[in-house]
């Protein structure tokens, strides 16, 4: 069901954990709050689940007011499922009993069938009789998801669901989680500090910083059309070089005039800091433009070179790994940017 937050605030002594947070996740969609630690994303989740009381603002699920304007629905009556960071499986119950724990209004047979159905969905049919300590981290995670989904909650919340898992199982698991949420038609909200997790699961992502929402958008736009410098920095990699808008979709820089589509409405003459993504900077041996390699990181299929431009500004570039250049070498580059993201010069931190 549709989740809506209206101007939700929550502060702890000395810190405003949430500052007038508003967002909407439509029914059946998977949303994500992305932000560094301390950005308030877990507080947001706990306010929605009912483990924290917002100081102000409203939380609505499927049109019902859960908190705010004098209303308060206690966590056990919200019908909001939650997958905890530490999974929080009940150690005295096996996997099946864990999944069946929240199925209170069904008779025994129906409870069992529903629990088994969910274990099938997450691919753990064979592990039904195992206890949590007999399961791997990834399996525990999937039991936790099945348990949260079993009572057909209005909404599923996932709190850093992959942070306790090894890197190599994360991607597979993220796909499995997305599939399970889709199969149940669940509305979900995930919080994480890892953009790859966010990209792998979510339909829409909000970037949180200091308890405020910087941008709420689909992943592609978050990367290619960040609304603030913070979002540009936090999502993906990149550097800024100074430039001047000289016409529609044209920005003059030390690397020449770059053409593309300006994501902001900026009249000619505006001094900007232009965002350069590593995939905008292409290595080209025949190019006139030269930049000095100051750092290199081998990443298997590619190198990530840190380059010093003639003016001293820095750029990043992903280069196929057969182009092996030493530090200090000057290599040819050209720019291939479609989206030009320029922030007004000197316009700091960036809030509108």
């Amino acid at each position: 069901m549709r989740l809506e937050l209206r101007e939700v605030s929550r502060s702890f002594p000395g810190v405003a954990a949430l500052d007038r947070l508003s967002l909407t996740v439509e029914a059946g969609r998977i949303g994500c709050l992305l932000g560094p630690s301390g950005s308030g994303k877990s507080t947001a989740l706990r306010c929605i689940a009912g483990f924290e009381r917002p100081d102000a603002g409203e939380v609505l699920a499927g049109g019902e007011r859960l908190s705010g304007a004098g209303a308060w629905v206690s966590p056990e009556r919200r019908r909001i499922g939650m997958v905890f960071q530490d999974f929080a499986l009940f150690p005295h119950l096996d996997a099946l009993a864990n999944v069946a724990f929240g199925l209170r209004d069904l008779d025994r047979g129906a409870r069992r069938r529903r629990a088994q159905e969910l274990l099938d969905l997450v691919g753990l049919s064979a592990e039904a009789g195992r206890y949590p300590h007999e399961l791997s981290g990834g399996q525990q995670q999937r039991v936790a998801l099945a348990r949260a989904l079993a009572p057909r909650p209005r909404l599923v919340l996932l709190d850093e669901p992959f942070s306790n898992l090894d890197a190599d199982v994360r991607t597979d698991l993220a796909q499995a989680v997305r599939k399970a949420l889709r199969a149940e038609g669940a509305t979900a909200l995930l919080v994480t500090h890892d953009q790859r997790e966010a990209f792998a699961i979510a339909d829409e992502i909000g970037v949180l910083r200091g308890g405020r929402l910087e941008q709420w958008d689909v992943p592609w736009k978050l990367y290619h059309s960040p609304r603030t410098r913070f979002v540009a920095d936090f999502v993906g990699e990149g550097t800024f070089i100074p430039g001047t808008v000289v016409g529609p979709g044209r920005v003059a820089t030390e690397l020449g005039v770059i053409e593309g589509q300006l994501t902001r409405d900026q009249p000619p003459g505006t001094l900007v800091d232009l965002l350069l993504r590593p995939d905008d900077v292409i290595h080209d041996d025949v190019s006139e433009l030269r930049a000095e390699v100051v750092e290199r990181a081998f990443r298997g299929a590619e190198f990530r070179y840190t380059l010093r431009l003639p003016s001293g500004a820095t750029a990043l570039s992903f280069v196929p790994s057969h182009h092996d250049h030493a530090i200090g070498e000057r290599i040819g580059i050209r720019l291939d940017a479609q989206h030009l993201v320029g922030f007004p010069r000197g316009w700091d931190a960036g809030r509108e």
């Binding site: 102000a56 056990e76 009556r77 939650m82 929080a88 009940f90 929240g102």
Partner: protein
Amino acid sequence: MNAQSPPRAGPTVAAILVALPMLAVLAAIVHGATGADPALWAHLTEHVLARVVANTAALVVGVVVIAVALGTSLAWLTAACEFPGRGFFAWALYLPMAVPAYVLAFVAVATLDYAGAVPTAMRAWFGADLAVPPIRSTVGLIAVLGFASYPYVYLMARGAFLTHGARVLEAAQSLGYGPWAGLVRVAIPLARPWLAGGAALVAMETLADFGAVSVFNYDTFTTAIYKAWYGLFSVETALALALLLLGFVAITMAAEQLARGRGRHTAADSGTRAPVRLALSGPRGWLASAFAAAVFAAGFLLPGIALARWALEVAPVDLDARYVTYILRTLSLAAMAALACLALALVLGYANRLSKGFATHAAARIATLGYAVPGTVLAVGVVTVLGGLDGAFRTLAGGEGLWLQGTVLALLLGYVARFLAVAYGPVLGGFARIRPSLEEAARSLGLAPREILARLHLPLLGAGVGTALLLVFVDVMKEMPITLMTRPFGWDTLAVRVFEMTAEGEWQRAALPALAIVVAGLLPVALLTWRMERAARAA
């Protein structure tokens, strides 16, 4: 603007209700004692106090010294050294914990007094004019209490040496200290908080001891309180002495805080590998074995054999229908007290989990203060409180009756006041191991807080609940002064039977109930030992 949050007073109110009896008892003692007649205080200071204070102080100091010396040295030997029989002694040296001090005391008097078996045999061997030092002396009593209470120090010190010993000693060795210099310079200073804790426990137990000092006819605060109560029938005197004894307890607690230094108990590091023990070879090894064997024999084996022999001798005559009553009374009292303590400990533990406020925390501290308060003091306080309530009832309802005094309720109140802390410890430990996210998970799955207690906490607390029940059960079985002073008329338990038989010098007839108490006491010791050794193996 937190207007939408209803106040969460429930947990705090519950915790304060649990603490109320203890508060009432303490208030009654302070009120009664400070309200006492000045003439009475003058009499007390003139005739009683000097002797009682000197006796108690000498006893506490002597017992603590012996218990710390025995406990620390044995703990070091079994934790950090290797000698013949070490594996056996490591757990066998816990067993004397099952023998209450008053049992060890009467066995010692019966066998070592002038007419006892040992001196008689020695005179037959060495000649009739052999002078055997009398057991019924301050030194004799100190020795008995020292052997009865060293396991507390042994337990704490061994825990400290096992968790820190090997690793820290290796660090000391790498810095040029030999193993013995390492013990003195590193291991003992490191174990100081634990040693202080063990010594404080011993001091508390000695201050609280009633049975052993009665057997030795040695006047301390506890016997003075008892005599004031029964001999002089002076409630004020008893209350005044009780208040002074509480002062001694407070001094002991303060001394523990000082003796800890700035060190704190820190959690044992997991993942330390098995310690490399210092091998004591040849004569040194056998000397260590002999030392451990002597303590084990004196504290457990020989008293056990003596008890068993006497019990077998008197059983054909003594063991009749009355014993069924003693045993049933003892077991039912112990069971009731254990359940009551557990229920209150659960309320207190859950309240402290729900509310982190100061009032709840303070209530828990007060409610569990009883373990430091000697049984005689609690008994006097309980009877005073209930007497006051009875008086109020009489004023309201008329008549002459005693509704509360001398009922099972009074007895249970005393037990709960004294042993709530014993149940609270394991329950609190159990709660601490339940991650908060489990509760949140249960709530997000639709369970209200009161359902969570039944469906989540109780099953998860399992082991802690069992431990709490067992510890209180056995402590109540052994308990002597509260039972003696507040029981309903004719309610004799095994411990009361021991007291009555030893008061008449009928040592052998005291052996039967004493043996039953010791056997029951072995259960928690076995459990504790098993857990300690398992933890040590896991480390």
